[in-house]
Amino acid sequence: MQDSVLTLLYIHFYARISFWKTIFVLFFPFTLPHYECDECHMLRNTYFRRSSIGFSCLFCLYEYSSFFVSHQPFFPFNFLFWSFRFSFFLFFHGFDDLILVEHKLSARILILNRPKQLNALSFQMVSRLLELFYDYESNSDVKLVVMKGNGRAFCAGGDVAAVVRYANGDNWKLGAKFFEIEYQMNYLMATYSKPQISILNGIVMGGGAGASIHGRFRVATENTVFAMPETALGLFPDVGASYFLSRLPGFFGEYVGLTGARLDGAELLACGLATHFVHSSKLTSLEEALCKVESSDTAAVSAIIDKYSEQPLLRENSAYHRLDIINKCFSRRTIEEILSSLEREAMNTADDWISATIQSLKKASPTSLKIFLRLIREGKVQGVGQCLVTEYRIVCHVLRGDFSKDFFEGCRAILLDKDRNPKWEPSKLELVTDRDVDIYFSKVDEEWWNDLRLPKRFNNLPAWAISKL
């Protein structure tokens, strides 16, 4: 407590900012919009306005203060400096138990640490990840970032239950804030200048895919269970899925996104969502080897992972063996045509896989299906940034309940009441017209609302990141 008070005094004193504003910024940063800090050029919500410079974030202010204090040996309130440092640490690292950071030589290992909730991403976690990724990018000591999950999941998605809790009614802004930060994180990862290696040893769903697939390397194991199950939840595959799913071979992305089908490690590797397959027993040694890497050279990193990799066999009834049928049916222009072509296939061949696929399409929210089909088709012809901007528009309309309220119904049925029997509204595909879907792709009609602001990127991006722009 004492530390916090001293911090307030310090900032108040040195940055010449009103006391109340200091308190506000320190304790309610998540309610604030993100601005670009004029010093470090990063998007922050922890900013202060300084008279002649403009916006400075707390991080830069912190750098400033440490300089100021340490260069004045006779400064009478030297202790203030240390208490500032300490409370700063507490404030920003206070959530650290949700994301553990291991400092290795040139690597940083980030561990999603919320095992009871299958590492579902909370607002604090995405904010923290965003900050960490920013910091590692400018820190030349860091050459690569390894991400993994604690427990049986890598990450089961965004903490949508929490989003729904505080996004009900007029408070949809708060929910939008979560997605804004999450999508900014997705964009940063997609265009990251250093290799991110995600160890997908367990469940990877929704937001978890967004926190890993965009990175340069994705290591699947025999424990990997991947899915984008949003259409069954009345949401739609987001977190940049319209970019990465639309780049899968043929129309596999449409299949994965619309049906929410589960993929295992071998399938993930086959379709390209994973770059490597490593048996979980070798993960410890892989990690050790990665920690010895001293450059960001992707070829070198790739060579190391290759050493531990193997070529897994696709299981016999894998969906990937049915790529022909998937291409034939999921390439159709509309959901209705996709369904009817699947039904035609079902009549010709008795295949449980086809009937399961039809079932999952019929169980999903009709609105979600239509939104996602248009989204992924648009995504094929756009860069990752544009994809996220569009997804942000859609998610804002979803949170506002502008056309359908299926997201809230889906969360109720699957996450809260758990009766697994959502009542979609509109209940049938033919009741969702193109005009209705248009609403989701339009700008939100609020004066304060803006399109997603993408984090500023620099000119030193590696070729593989440039190709996603």
């Binding site: 010093e39 002649s52 390439s331 222009r333 094929k380 991006l461 440039i466």
Partner: protein, 672 residues
């Protein structure tokens, strides 16, 4: 940057209160800087794309995806991106086979559903959109489809009656049969009325006998006839009981379903061409081929079993015009596809100019970006304005076409002729400029721009030679003018209503507010057209007064006729631009539209000497206009990327130099 120096930098900025960008480190190697990162777009490119594409964006994106995700479309991975384009290294025969296989794939995916059996503006717009996307992939596939659906299918639809519709349309849509359209002959192209093929009615068997009487009557350039087509529309002179009834259209089978040529038909190939080698153009000779009486497309005229010629249209001129109706659609399609080709080449050239540097201004300074050179701006930005103008006008033409009524047919004929000619000429000019602007890279086939020149060159010839079409335009305008002069009929239609008002006084263009005002721009365009029209009419009358025939007088006045055609077209385009601009709400989009519209208008003013000749542009003003073009070009420079991104062309349909051309040319990307 390590932590310590980052801190120093932050601190020094605090202390110096400066906001200079990070110090540039001298780097021996060029690094590709994505233009996307330099500045955010000043307007919403999605809204702009809506205006550019105009309709069916979802259908377009779907088809883009279908193409990008099939190996049939020859995807190549370069610089981390996939590019699709036919393999032009393949032999002519292979390219033709690939075109056909691609069509079969698209057919299987339901792309052509309703292309012939569907009706109504919605179907027609969707068909336009899908056809445009296919043309952006490859001109050959667009032409091959155009011949089958729009010429063969269109002829059956427009010239045939129910019995033809029932028999052929569904089979055509499903490619059970493959159609072609045999109109042009070796001896006759634009002058269709002069063709020499003869169909004689034999009342004893109830058959027509189609014959090629001489070598100049061989059907020439018949797309699809070289290899694949099973049926053809034959245009020939109809001979009933020894009377020539003029040009009529018939259906004849030329191959069986196994691809063997039918008896009494001879087919030869047109050989290798400077483009469109994925289309099997062929030549056909008919040796007294007998076809049933029902194969006459009889919506305009019919022959009864006992050999009576029956026609609802008595005037042979009007009857002939009715036979050419299917060609209107072709002209609309060509005008639109020229615009999309220009979009592709400009998107490539501008993206390249935003990443390629050449020469430094100072000895140690960085090399200058191509598009930062005023000359490069002046080469490309006016073309960008022209493409925007053409794009809006093409959308307008499409809307006119799908909402056509018997009354609007004439307007559509005139406007589509004018746009087909001017847009295809503009396109060739844009392609050439873009090719040069891309330097040596523009010469590589994989970079598309140069290759498109050969592919699209034909547009100024097929479906009506551009000059012939321009004459049609000036002829139609002359008829309007004479009707007004002689019968005192006020001008109505073709945008000529302004002629009913007295000539307005045109404010001097020498101030920067009038030079950019849409009213003064359209006024001066009106004046040019009015001036040319009256001078053209006067000159034709003068020749006629000297005893020349109407045709000969018209031929003699060719200069004014051509100028008038151009003036009409440019004025109509500017008018659509202004109309589109006026419907926009105030905001960034409208502002950009204003700049583009001014740049389009002033580029026309700068380039056409007929403004000076008419006297409505003074010498000083002409100098001022030229300066303003430079100014506008540099004002639009910051929006260049946003403007080409608004075309909505996926990266796969552009080319490696439009993106990371260093990576796509790296040793690692060479196939070892």
């Amino acid at each position: 940057m390590d932590r310590a120096s980052w801190r120093t930098q932050v601190l020094s900025k605090h202390l110096l209160h400066s906001s200079s960008p990070a110090i540039l480190q001298p780097n021996a190697c060029l690094h590709y800087s994505p233009p996307e990162l330099s500045a955010p777009f000043a307007f919403d490119i999605k809204e702009m794309r809506n205006l550019m594409d105009g309709h069916n964006l979802e259908d377009r994106d779907w088809l883009f995806g279908l193409i990008m995700h099939s190996n049939l479309f020859n995807p190549r991975r370069l610089g981390g991106r996939v590019f699709v384009s036919p393999d032009f290294n393949q032999s002519m025969e292979q390219q033709r086979e690939m075109t056909m296989r691609r069509i079969e794939y698209l057919l299987d995916r339901g792309v052509f559903q309703g292309w012939l059996t569907g009706t109504g503006p919605e179907f027609e717009l969707k068909r336009f959109a899908l056809h445009e996307v296919l043309g952006m992939y490859d001109h050959s596939i667009a032409i091959k489809l155009g011949v089958h659906f729009f010429l063969w299918g269109g002829a059956i639809r427009f010239l045939g009656t129910k019995r033809h519709h029932d028999k052929w349309l569904r089979d055509t849509e499903n490619y059970m049969i493959k159609g072609c359209f045999a109109m042009t002959e070796l001896g006759h192209g634009s002058n269709v009325r002069g063709i020499e093929t003869v169909a004689t009615y034999d009342s004893s068997t109830g058959e027509f006998v189609i014959n090629t009487p001489c070598e100049s009557a061989q059907k020439y350039w018949i797309g699809g006839a070289g290899k694949h087509a099973t049926h053809t529309i034959v245009f020939s002179q109809l001979n009933v009981n020894g009377n020539n009834q003029g040009v009529h259209a018939f259906i004849a089978q030329i191959r069986d379903s196994d691809g063997n040529t039918c008896p009494n038909i001879r087919i030869a190939d047109c050989g290798h061409k400077i483009g469109l080698n994925g289309v099997d153009n062929g030549r056909i000779w008919f040796d007294n081929v007998r076809i049933p009486r029902e194969n006459l497309l009889n919506s305009v005229a019919d022959v009864s079993p006992n050999g009576q010629y029956l026609s609802t249209i008595k005037d042979p001129d009007q009857r002939f015009a009715a036979f050419l109706a299917p060609l209107t659609f072709g002209r609309v399609t060509i005008a639109v596809s020229a615009v999309y080709t220009s979009k592709i080449s400009l998107a490539i050239a501008i993206r390249y100019a935003l990443t390629r540097r050449a020469f430094s201004i100072t000895p140690t300074g960085p090399e200058v970006l191509l598009l930062d050179y005023p000359i490069h701006q002046q080469r490309l930005m006016p073309l960008l304005a022209i493409v925007y103008a053409m794009s809006l006008a093409a959308n307008d033409l499409k809307m006119m076409y799908v909402k056509r009524t018997p009354e609007s047919n004439k307007t559509i004929h005139v406007v589509s002729s004018a746009y087909k000619a001017t847009f295809t000429w503009n396109n060739m000019r844009i392609l050439q400029e873009c090719r040069e602007a891309c330097g040596g890279q523009g010469y590589k086939t994989e970079n598309r721009v140069g290759h498109l020149k050969g592919e699209y060159d034909v547009q100024s010839t097929f479906e009506g030679d551009n000059h012939v079409l321009m004459q049609q335009v000036s002829k139609a305008l002359l008829a309007e003018y004479r009707a007004n002069q002689k019968k005192n009929k006020p001008f109505a239609g073709l945008g000529l209503e302004y002629m009913n008002k007295p000539q307005p006084t045109i404010p001097s263009l020498l101030t920067s507010s009038t030079i950019r005002s849409s009213q003064s721009q359209i006024d001066i365009f009106h004046s040019r057209e009015r001036d040319l029209l009256s001078r053209f009419a006067a000159e034709v009358s003068e020749y006629q007064a000297k005893g020349e025939s109407a045709e000969s007088a018209f031929i003699q006045s060719f200069q004014l006729a051509e100028d008038l055609g151009r003036a009409f077209s440019e004025r109509a385009v500017l008018q659509t631009f202004m109309d589109a601009e006026s419907t926009l709400p105030a905001g960034s989009l409208k502002n950009i539209f204003g700049l583009l519209r001014s740049l389009y208008a002033l580029t026309c003013l700068d380039e056409d000497a007929s403004f000076l000749r008419s006297g409505y542009l003074s010498r000083d003003e002409a100098v001022e206009v030229r300066k303003e073009v430079t100014k506008l070009s540099s004002e639009l420079r910051p929006h260049a990327l946003a403007l080409v991104s608004s075309f909505g062309i996926p990266d796969a349909f552009l080319s490696p130099i439009a993106y990371d051309w260093i990576d796509s040319n790296a040793w690692a990307s060479v196939e070892h």
